[in-house]
């Protein structure tokens, strides 16, 4: 067959070239994700491999002994539990009410935009700055001294943006028809919000609460000066006592201890427990979100 268009052959090679470029480019992009995956795996593998051997019933239930070179991390686990609990008690009501205001009550005006900008900006405030804020406000001005309460409230404010964002997402997922139906039947705004919008949004909000929890549990910088203690042989007995916390304990064992290489296994064990704790929280949030999304789709 006679080729009518002499350019046709050229176009074909160009086509091949273009396809080849695309394949190579996509490969590079995929490679970048593989790199990130490998980074993650190396971190998890290293900490798990060297940390899991340290874990025993005693490690989880005993206090540190003989200058923190032996014993376990029980007070740190308890301290992290308490401080996270206080943070949640602060962040959850404030976060949910803020979300309800932004999504149900606020007019799309200047104030609304200002609040949103502040929230996004708050999420970007360095955690150490929150620590200083906590020192100035809770420890000194309010007179809490370094304590569970001061540290918990600092962490609560730090996690507020996470909670608001998640709670708002949950409210947005509730269909508009719910609200219109309620109002059409003569319900007031608050009646409508309380009995029609909030109930289906609860699981979604719970996701946000758990995400906030996991963020608070892992933070170190904000509690450095607001209540975390180097070493305490006893458990905190009131909101005004100081406490040990897992992330701070890891920091101490890794950098501040007099026998750093000697306590390295303990540091790995602590890191492992902290990772497991945070991942369990994140995983439950993901599972909850997954189930909840399925449910919402059925509406």
């Amino acid at each position: 067959m006679k080729i009518l268009n002499p350019d046709l052959k050229k176009t074909n090679t160009e086509q091949v070239h273009r396809n080849w470029t695309q394949t190579a480019a996509f490969l590079c992009l995929r490679l970048s994700l593989i790199v990130v995956f490998l980074i993650l795996m190396v971190i998890l593998y290293d900490i798990t491999k060297k940390g899991i051997g340290v874990i025993s019933w005693l490690f989880l239930t005993e206090a540190p002994r003989t200058g923190m070179t032996e014993g376990g991390i029980f007070p740190a686990i308890v301290g992290t539990f308490y401080v996270t609990l206080i943070a949640t008690l602060v962040a959850v009501p404030l976060g949910i009410i803020t979300a309800i205001y932004l999504n149900e009550y606020a007019l799309q005006g200047r104030l609304n935009r200002l609040i949103r900008i502040s929230l996004r900006n708050m999420a970007g405030v360095p955690s150490i700055v929150f620590g200083l804020f906590g020192v100035a406000l809770f420890v000194q001005r309010m007179g809490f001294r370094p304590s569970l309460l001061a540290a918990g409230m600092t962490l609560g404010l730090l996690t507020l943006p996470v909670t608001v964002t998640a709670a708002e997402e949950a409210l947005k997922a509730v269909p508009k028809s719910y609200r219109e139906g309620g109002l059409a039947l003569g319900a007031t705004k608050w009646q409508m919000v309380k009995s029609l919008v909030l109930p289906p949004a609860v699981p979604g909000m719970l996701t946000g609460v758990i995400l906030g929890l996991s963020r608070a549990a892992g933070e170190t910088a904000p509690i450095l000066f607001t209540g975390a203690a180097f070493f305490l042989p006893y458990l905190p007995d009131s909101p005004f006592s100081q406490f040990m916390a897992l992330p701070y304990h890891l920091f101490i064992l890794a950098t501040q201890h007099h026998d750093i290489s000697g306590v390295r296994p303990l540091a790995y064990g602590t890191a492992f427990v902290l990772l497991v704790l945070v991942f369990m929280l994140n995983l439950s949030a993901v599972l909850l979100r997954y189930r909840y999304r399925k449910q919402i789709k059925q509406f």
Binding site: I47, Y101, G124, F133, P247
Partner: protein
């Protein structure tokens, strides 16, 4: 009566909604008022004069934060050098190439990475990455700005990926369709149409990553060595603004000039991140509106 209750609830919610504004203003006010005694004693210019940070010197204490600022930006910039290309590549793949099912498997990787506490990453840098760096470059210690940059980069990566992915996904389908209809390949469309259209969003994402990197505390505290000398290369140990506060705040006598100057360091750090974040936010929102 009913009306009164409704209004009370409304205003209660509104007051609560303004909490974030109050907290931001409160941080600004408290940090500034706590640093005023230091500003009066040391003088604003001395904080930015050439010299060192050495408030506990026996004869003449020095309060220059220039080296701290330099250290902060070295680690911040160093982390972005690899976190931005890597993050944008990941975001492009997730938004444009990966199928729905593939994305559902890949996205948790980024989320898990975001969930790792910074103190754990710092620990990892200290015990695993630093020795590798020392060996690779023949150094005595790998605890330096490079180590900090790598770890802070990992820390900032999830922020960059998820925001850049948002920005890329926000580019209207019609752009892509038009390009494909003209005979461009998928890759040509991504490279010449989608990515340029999303550019300002990607820049905003990178800036927010920078904001995170500059404010990061525990990772740099554990991974960079915290030396006060003037850093000249990435193999030097550096101290950042955030690490400086973390190291000294616990031991300083309350009410001393040193104590108040640490609040000033915090104030400077707050202002730097605030400006970066605000700029990024403005760019991002404008991009969203345009698209």
């Amino acid at each position: 009566m009913h009306n009164f209750k409704e209004n009370a609830i409304k205003y209660f919610f509104m007051a609560n909604g303004m909490l974030s504004i109050i907290i931001l203003l409160g941080i600004f006010y408290l940090l500034l008022s706590r640093s005023l005694p230091a500003l009066q004693n040391v003088g604003l210019t001395n904080f930015f004069a050439p010299g060192y940070w050495n408030p506990t010197a026996y004869t003449t204490p020095q309060y220059s934060i220039l080296n701290l600022i330099k250290g902060t930006f070295m680690v911040g910039a160093g982390s972005l050098i690899f976190a931005v290309p890597l993050g944008v590549a990941c975001a492009t793949y997730l938004a444009e190439v990966a199928g729905a099912r593939e994305r559902e498997v890949l996205k948790p990787i980024i989320e898990i990475l975001a969930g790792i506490p910074s103190v754990v990453l710092g620990f990892f840098g200290l015990v695993v990455v630093a020795p590798v760096i020392a060996e690779l470059f023949g150094l005595n210690s790998g605890i330096n700005a490079l180590n900090g940059s790598i770890l802070v980069g990992i820390m900032a990566l999830p922020t960059i990926v998820s925001l850049a992915e948002d920005a890329i996904s926000a580019v209207p389908q019609s752009y892509r369709h038009a390009s494909l209809a003209l005979g461009a390949t998928k890759w040509q469309t991504i490279l010449r149409i989608t990515l340029p259209a999303a550019l300002s969003g990607i820049i905003a994402a990178s800036m927010l990553g920078m904001g995170r990197a500059v404010g990061e505390t525990m990772t740099v505290l554990m991974a960079t060595g915290n030396a006060l000398a003037k850093p000249s290369s990435f193999f030097d140990s550096v101290r950042t603004l955030s690490a400086n506060i973390a190291i000294e705040m616990g031991e300083v006598p309350v009410g001393s000039v040193h104590y108040h100057s640490l609040f000033f360091v915090g104030f400077v750090l707050f202002m730097i991140t605030f400006i970066i974040n605000l700029l990024a936010d403005v760019i991002f929102q404008r991009y969203r509106e345009e698209i």
